[in-house]
């Protein structure tokens, strides 16, 4: 089956981020998105640990040990960057100041429910980090992920089986197979990845899809 690779998913998301947005990127595929925003387009990336204006990873000899992102990877600061403390960093998130957050997910339901932090009721020590704050606080929440698990199980579902991160939070999903909006009527397909037809997409999705116009 054809479709988008992980970098291609990231590149596809990057296409839709306009100049001037303040954006927080989660761990995994979302982290790759920054690399695909054209250099001339000014998008400001925020990280939970109090950094605005995150730039690309440094070369090994240029690592600044004091400068990391929320994934605890070394990063750089772009001109115009700023540091804030943790409460202000989450005021940025929770106060509705971010234009966009892109997270990975275990599951997204057709009503926009997001499950991305714990894999079961018995998994009592899961790390929530900032996911619940981001899901609720950002003006838009998009998800970027593989369309199915490695075993082929659908991640787009009628109702999440994993513990929720936030109800009704996701507005758009970019996967290896398609770009899909969450609407009051359910999952609405915006486009399918190259070489993927609608019927194939529907077979790999555990909820009804509304075809593109």
């Amino acid at each position: 089956m054809a479709g988008f690779s992980r970098p291609e998913i990231a590149a596809r998301v990057a296409r839709d981020i306009p100049e001037g947005w303040y954006v927080n990127l989660g761990i995994g595929i979302p982290t790759l998105i920054a690399d695909y925003v054209p250099p001339g387009r000014e998008v400001i990336f925020h990280s939970e640990n109090g950094v605005l204006g995150i730039g690309p990873a440094p070369s090994p000899e240029a690592v600044d040990p004091w400068l990391i992102n929320a994934g605890k990877q070394h990063v750089t600061l772009r001109p115009g960057g700023a540091f804030v403390h943790h409460a202000d960093s989450f005021a940025i998130i929770r106060g509705g100041h971010l234009d966009l957050c892109v997270l990975g997910a275990f599951e997204v339901a057709e009503n926009g429910d997001l499950a991305n932090w714990a894999t079961g009721r018995n998994d009592a020590a899961s790390a929530v980090g900032g996911a619940m704050d981001l899901a609720v606080g950002a003006r838009r929440l998009w998800v970027a992920m593989e369309h199915t698990t490695k075993e082929g199980t659908a991640r787009l579902v009628g109702r999440c089986s994993y513990p929720l991160t936030a109800p009704g939070a996701v507005s758009r999903i970019y996967t290896s197979l398609a770009v899909i909006d969450v609407t009051p009527q359910g999952f609405s397909v915006i486009e399918t990845a190259p070489g993927v037809d609608f019927d194939t997409l529907q077979r790999h999705t555990a909820a009804r899809l509304i075809p593109p116009e």
Partner: protein, 226 residues
Amino acid sequence: MIDKRVATMAEAMAGIRDGSVVLIGGFGDVGQPDALIEGLIAQGATNLTVVANNAGRGRTGLAHLMELGRVRRIVCSFPRSRGSVVFEELYSAGRIELEIVPQGTLAERLRAAGAGIPAFFTPTAVGTRLADGKEERAFDGRPHILEYALPGDVALVEAWRADRFGNLIYRESARNFNPVMAMAARLTIVQVQHLAELGTLDPEAIATPGIFVDRVLHVPYAQAKG
């Protein structure tokens, strides 16, 4: 003369009691007051509640304090991460209590404690299992849950530069939880890389004014850590 500098680790740790709530700054290894954690290990206080974003890594620092059985309870947003082996062992053996708090709620509960706000409502975690048992109330039609301030008996903080008043300047992303924890504790102890003469820190750059700080210990690193 006001002078919050202390000369020894023993002075820095003096008076920390068994059963204390200890706030520990840092995000991952950055901005974490490693020397003060070692000092707390040597000081001996036990039955502690630790508030920190992460639950320790490897077998040193916070993980070592936990492995020694000195931490009864940990409050954090990210208990399980790469290298959190001691936490995993203690938690699966039922030897440590865990309270998971969304990271923003954690920061805000600390800020609230420092600002004299006993509790606040937030939409974060509504509709999830982290809202279980919490009071819910709608504002503008949107549900919120009640979260309580999280004051500390002690805060362990790392800063880049300090003066004898306890004014603090941080370095880059090492700021993180340190300023809100400094506000939120009755006794705030700082390890600092560089001591500065009074009047030489740029007042516009001071992120934590000395009013929030009780003790400053000079701990220069041989080299920057990360």
